[in-house]
């Protein structure tokens, strides 16, 4: 089941946190709302605590890197280069799901190498801890306010964030040839 | 046998003693070591059968009966590893400490009437004491391995074995009290006759305390469900995590030696020792006490009896091991201190009162009179203690202090 309560529910969110929701698509396969990156934690907190449908469980955080490394192809794409964070929420009592999307610049201040930032939602769902670490590790997004943001799947001294489209695999790691 | 060597063969005294001692030592050592190999094979087969497998089938032809030997050769060929940070001397010595302690205890274990390495009049106590030394090897191994898992294993072992010695000692004391002797030969002798003479069936208290003994014995030799020192799901392999090859196999041999020892102890203390359930020899008019061939044969039969009972005990331990999950360390200690010890204490008191008020048992005539076979040292007519026994009857009985005081 998905959120079908229509605009009423979203209007309440708009009323409680004006300006936080910047877009919505309720006709998509998974209806989603777009949230301003800086306010994601507030929105999540509202969704968990104050919303009529309490989204008490965070299922997944995904970062999608919209970037085409090949300049020829990049000229033809229809989307804006960005990192899109997708939060899949689930409400156990109501058994409905909700998708939040959040667009981030690929690099903070367009400085390659400095990670884009976004508030952490670990204060809302404790389960977000590992998910955020994974996103940081693989996609390179810095979650401010995360209690212990470090790599989780890759070794601590790994370089780069593998799920970035422009990721280049290191030639060697501690003397082990990779390619 | 010494007399035989001196008189018939004409060996000088010291050589005769040496030869006799060496023969006995070789016999005991080989029987136990060989027994350990057989038990290892049996454990593999039994575990396999319990788990719906076949176990070893090929080595040595049928039933894989040479598997233990093949294992031994494999272990010999293995590299002898020692961790970098280990205390070399203690690491190397630890297995032998365990092994020696376990095998030393067999000195005092009677296999049949007079078939005993050294007849000590404190045999029961000796065996318990020496068996307690086995833990020292384990502790040393755990400490010297320079591995945290080993350290955990040996700390558990130390705590567990030291604790379980308390109820174990209490259980052991009950047959000692009933027999009025710590000599295992005497204790077994006193249970001669039909199986209802066994201390297991002496009174309800001994029946209960036998099961306490079984629990404590399993715990004190570190078998499942009390095998916390080597708990593989928690501590990798516990105290022998860092051991390999032959050294490791010494721990193994010590474990099987101890298993056999506590089973044989149970047989002697509670299950009539070498006396079968039915006194076949006595019914046939034979006596084990005589020095002739018939006497030897009866003793041999007794030995088969005892070995059978001990083996049964070992098999039961294997059965338990492959059936039950492992307890947690606090539950092991709880079992010991909150259950085994109080039960053993109450049963001890109960057995004592029973012995005081119902020494003949409930069915008169079923039990042989208690004083029929006395401790060996009281039997001789010139025995000093016999002459000095306060009651003057030639039998030491408990005299309450109130009666002695004027």
């Amino acid at each position: 089941m998905q959120v079908t309560r229509g605009p009423g529910f979203l209007d309440q969110l708009d009323a409680a946190l004006p300006g936080a929701v910047t877009g919505r698509n309720l006709e998509a396969l998974d209806p989603w709302i777009e949230v301003a990156p800086g306010r994601i934690a507030e929105v999540c907190h509202w969704l968990k605590r104050s919303s009529p449908v309490r989204f008490d469980s965070l299922e997944c955080i995904t970062a999608v890197d919209w970037h085409e490394p090949d300049p020829k192809k990049a000229a033809k794409v229809s989307w804006q280069p960005r990192i899109e964070l997708v939060y899949h929420l689930w409400s156990t009592p109501a058994r409905v799901s909700l998708v939040l999307k959040c667009g981030l610049p690929r690099w903070k201040d367009d400085q390659p190498g400095s990670l884009p930032e976004l508030p952490s939602v670990t204060g809302v769902w404790r389960g977000a801890d590992w998910h955020e670490r994974e996103v940081y590790d693989l996609s390179g997004v810095w979650f401010t306010g995360h209690p212990d943001l470090r790599r989780i799947l890759c070794p601590e001294d790994w370089e780069g964030h593998p799920l970035r489209k422009d990721y280049v695999q290191p030639v060697e790691y501690h003397g082990i040839r990779n390619r | 046998m010494v007399e035989y060597l001196i008189d018939r063969v004409g060996l000088p005294g010291w050589l005769a003693w040496t030869a006799a001692a060496a023969l006995a030592a070789v016999l005991i050592l080989n029987v136990i070591a060989g027994g350990a190999l057989v038990f290892i094979w049996a454990e593999r087969k039994i575990a396999a059968r319990i788990q719906d497998r076949l176990g070893p089938t090929r080595t040595g032809g049928k039933f894989g009966w040479l598997q233990s030997l093949a294992d031994g050769i494999k272990l010999l060929a293995k590299e002898d590893l020692m961790p970098d940070g280990a205390d070399g001397m203690l690491f190397r010595l630890a297995p032998y400490v365990s092994f020696c302690a376990s095998f030393c205890a067999f000195i005092a274990l009677p296999f049949a009437f007079d078939f005993v390495g050294l007849r000590l009049n404190v045999a029961v106590f000796f065996v318990v004491a020496v068996l307690g030394l086995e833990v020292f090897g384990v502790i040393l191994a755990g400490y010297a391995s320079a591995s945290k898992w080993s350290l955990f294993g040996s700390m558990r072992e130390a705590a567990q074995v030291v604790s379980y010695e308390v109820p174990l000692g209490m259980c052991v004391v009950v047959p000692v009290m009933l027999a009025g002797s710590m000599d295992m030969v005497t204790i077994a002798e006193k249970q001669a006759g039909w199986f209802w003479n066994w201390y297991l069936f002496h009174d309800p208290f001994t029946f209960v305390i036998f099961w306490v003994y079984v629990t404590c014995a399993v715990a004190s030799v570190n078998r499942a469900p009390f095998d916390l020192a080597e708990a593989e799901s928690e501590l990798v392999a516990g105290f022998h995590t860092e051991y390999s090859g032959l050294r490791w196999s010494f721990f193994f041999m010590a474990e099987y030696g101890s298993m056999f020892l506590v089973s044989a102890m149970a047989a002697v203390l509670f299950l009539g020792g070498w006396n079968g359930p039915v006194p076949l020899a006595t019914l046939a008019g034979l006596s084990e006490g005589t020095g002739d061939t018939a006497g030897y044969l009866v003793r041999l039969l007794g030995m088969v009896n005892l070995l059978g009972k001990a083996t049964l005990g070992v098999l039961v331990m294997m059965w338990i091991r492959w059936t039950l999950p492992r307890l947690r360390i606090d539950q092991v200690m709880t079992t010991c201190l909150k259950y085994c010890t109080p039960i053993a204490a109450v049963m001890f008191a109960g057995a004592m009162l029973w012995q005081l008020f119902l020494p003949g048992g409930l069915v008169p005539g079923m039990r042989r009179p208690a004083g029929e076979i006395r401790e060996g040292w009281l039997e001789g007519p010139g025995g000093r203690a016999a002459a000095s026994a306060p009651t003057g009857s030639g039998d030491l009985v408990l005299v309450p202090a109130a009666q002695v005081r004027p």
Partner: protein, 251 residues
């Protein structure tokens, strides 16, 4: 410990009479073997640096002493020695070392001054014991001690109040109940010691502090102003990573 070791060594040396080799007496051979082991290991205890090794040597030394007891026919005392000292005391000692294993305690270095004082003390004790032992007339001749008898039963009897020493008529000991009273006193004393030890070991400690669990349903509603704060700082409900979750914190 050094004093004890020297004392053990000296007792073991006591009466080590070397028999002529022609009459090889196994009893004497074993005696010498055990005595040498006891002395050698006692020395090793003194000279070793590592506490666990010391304990190990002490085990060997005490074990050898137990062997001496067995040779002397005091089987009960021998078994006691094994059970109490080797199986009990030393296991606990090593156990304690392992539980509190910290480098300065595991390795003990003795300074030259300490060695001198210990040597002096140990030597004095040894001399005293030797003099005392040699002053006993029957001990001066080998073989003068009669054949030993089993010791356990009379010992046990004596402890529960039976006189086995046959006091001569008229002696004040006649009619007294043997060693029952001392036995009982010692038992009660030991019980008191055990209870006291258990009491002392019970330092008053509070329960393991645990971070507060975040329970969604019972948390009070949060105002919008607080919303803004969430995510900008460390979340209140999440467990702190280091330090605070460690157990204990003194009594």
């Amino acid at each position: 410990m050094i004093g004890a070791a020297v004392a053990v060594a000296s007792t073991s040396c006591l009466g080590a009479v070397v028999p002529p080799l022609a009459v090889l007496d196994w009893h004497a051979v074993f005696f010498m073997l055990f005595a040498a082991a006891a002395c050698g290991c006692a020395l090793a205890v003194v000279l070793a640096d590592n506490v666990v090794r010391m304990a190990f040597y002490l085990v060997l030394s005490l074990g050898a002493t137990a062997g001496l007891f067995f040779l002397a026919g005091a089987e009960f005392v021998g078994a006691m020695q094994l059970m109490i000292y080797v199986g009990g005391t030393l296991v606990l000692l090593v156990f304690g070392v392992m539980l509190t294993a910290q480098a300065p305690f595991v390795s003990i270095k003795t300074s030259a001054g300490e060695k001198a004082v210990a040597g002096l003390l140990g030597g004095a004790l040894l001399t005293l014991l030797l003099v005392a032992a040699l002053s006993v007339e029957p001990w001066r001749r080998p073989g003068s001690v009669g054949p030993t008898e089993p010791s356990a039963t009379p010992l046990g009897m004596a402890l529960v109040g039976v006189r086995v020493d046959e006091p001569p008529a008229g002696s004040p000991a006649v009619g007294r109940s043997g060693y029952l009273l001392p036995f009982e006193i010692i038992s009660v004393h030991l019980l008191v010691v055990l209870v006291a030890a258990a009491y002392l070991a019970r330092a008053k400690r509070r329960k393991t502090p645990r971070p507060v669990e975040m329970v969604a349903s019972v948390e009070p509603p949060v105002s919008v102003a607080e919303h803004a704060a969430i995510g900008r700082e460390a979340p209140a409900g999440a467990p702190a990573r280091s330090g605070s979750v460690l157990v204990g914190g003194g009594s």
